[in-house]
């Protein structure tokens, strides 16, 4: 396991690129809850320097995917794939909070990601 604990849990770092959820200030305690997401690279995909992120429960997989793509400075012709349990890919519209409830362990959701040159 790559539990590199030198990176503290980052907060709010994944927000600026997505203006879609400015409601965290006025939400209830439940809505403001965040979950820990651990991102693991697969194969030749670049490893993110910060692997552990604190993500709002209502955040979608697509939003997270966009964030990772920008973080890795991916090109337009590259596609990012995300895997849960290394057994399936969550729908882009799925909320990470739901994934955490179903597949979280040890207080975090582990997601593997893989960069692919082509689709098809």
């Amino acid at each position: 396991m790559s539990a590199n604990a030198e990176s503290p849990t980052e907060t709010q770092k994944d927000e600026p690129s997505t203006p879609q959820q400015p409601t965290e200030d006025s939400g209830t305690a439940d809505e403001k809850k965040k979950i820990d997401v651990l991102l693991k690279a697969v194969g030749d995909t670049p490893i993110m320097k910060t692997k552990k992120w604190s993500v709002e429960k209502g955040r979608t997989v697509q939003s997270l995917s966009q964030f990772i793509s920008r973080f890795l400075k991916m090109e337009a012709n590259e596609q990012l794939f995300i895997y849960v349990n290394q057994s399936f890919s969550p729908s882009p519209d799925q909320e990470v909070g739901v994934l955490f409830e179903c597949f979280g362990s040890d207080g975090k959701l582990v997601l593997h990601y893989c960069k692919s040159q082509a689709w098809g």
């Binding site: 012709n77 349990n85 399936f88 799925q94 179903c102 597949f103 689709w119 098809g120």
Partner: protein
């Protein structure tokens, strides 16, 4: 000859034991029997969810999974609701559709020729999951039409791809979704190209191999490709649908002579049985037995035989 150096047999053997790429490569592909088994297992869960999948058999040999669903898409509307230019538009439309009727084609081309606005609308989708012998992977074919029955044209389908994948698709659309003849029905369908399937399947299959567990290839594959074209795959598929019985590639096992009747929720014996429900449940963490000692077929529930049509 005495002076001839001996070939490096030992190093070759060492390389073979270090890199079982042959095993990995074979496990990245799907044989037709496993395809059918995975489909049947998916089908059973679909029945319990009333998710709409059905198995269609063609001439008693090849079959495919089929589902229709309503979704959203971006379609182009003819601007015939404007004031002054409506007549002209209507005339043009009429002549074009008349022309197309003559050719006996779907009038998908009507909307693509004119200048029109693109908007989000309800689209009727029909999805088919077929097995491709040449790629040894499943392939997703689909049709899309408006509620009025007009087929979407290729550009509209490209515009309807989920935003998560749209940028990549727009980069090389012809590599991703095109129109092809349905291999079994002979009708025009849109198809999501399968040539790179192994690229996104590889991480899952490799992990499964290393952890000595199986995956349901179809469920995993569908979870990746489905959302691209608006096909929703509920999370419970990923937790409730079991894997097909393991068949070692080196020694193919004969099919079970006594197929068990299909149950509503088949579960492998090693995992705790969970009733199928619409709310996704966390998967059991009990590991599958190592692949070197496969379970005898009689101890694990068999999917229904190919000939029987479920439900």
């Amino acid at each position: 000859m005495a002076g001839r150096p001996t070939p490096g047999c030992l190093s070759d053997l060492e390389m073979e034991s270090e890199e079982p790429t042959e095993v990995e490569m074979s496990s990245c592909f799907l044989d037709e029997e496993t395809f059918c088994q995975c489909c049947q297992l998916l089908l059973q869960h679909s029945h319990s969810l009333c998710d709409g999948w059905s198995w269609e058999q063609v001439k008693g040999s090849e079959g495919y999974l089929r589902k229709t669903a309503l979704g959203t898409g971006r379609t182009r509307c003819i601007l015939d609701q404007q004031g002054n230019s409506s007549d002209q538009h209507q005339e043009r439309t009429f002549s074009l559709s008349f022309h197309n009727d003559e050719d006996d084609e779907d009038d998908g081309a009507v909307c693509c020729i004119q200048e029109e606005s693109s908007s989000s609308s309800v689209v009727q989708y029909e999805y088919h999951i077929l097995y491709s012998c040449s790629y040894q992977t499943p392939v997703l074919y689909f049709r899309a039409s408006t509620l009025e029955g007009r087929s979407l044209c290729l550009e509209e389908v490209w515009d309807s791809v989920h935003p998560n994948y749209r940028q990549r698709l727009q980069h090389r659309p012809w590599d991703t979704i095109t129109q092809q003849e349905h291999p079994l029905l002979g009708q025009s369908f849109f198809v999501l190209h399968p040539c790179r399937t192994e690229e996104f399947m590889m991480p899952v299959l490799k992990a499964a191999l290393e952890e000595h567990r199986q995956v349901n290839y179809i469920v995993t594959w569908l979870s990746v490709v489905g959302p691209v074209v608006g096909l929703d795959v509920p999370l419970s598929y990923c937790t409730q649908v079991p894997e097909p019985p393991h068949t070692p590639s080196s020694s193919p096992q004969p099919p079970s002579s006594s197929p068990q009747p299909p149950s509503s929720s088949p579960q492998p014996p090693s995992s705790s049985p969970q009733p199928p429900s619409s709310s996704p449940q966390p998967p059991s963490s009990s590991p599958q037995p190592p692949s070197s000692s496969p379970q005898p077929p009689s101890s694990s529930p068999q999917p229904p035989a190919l000939g029987t049509k479920p439900g």
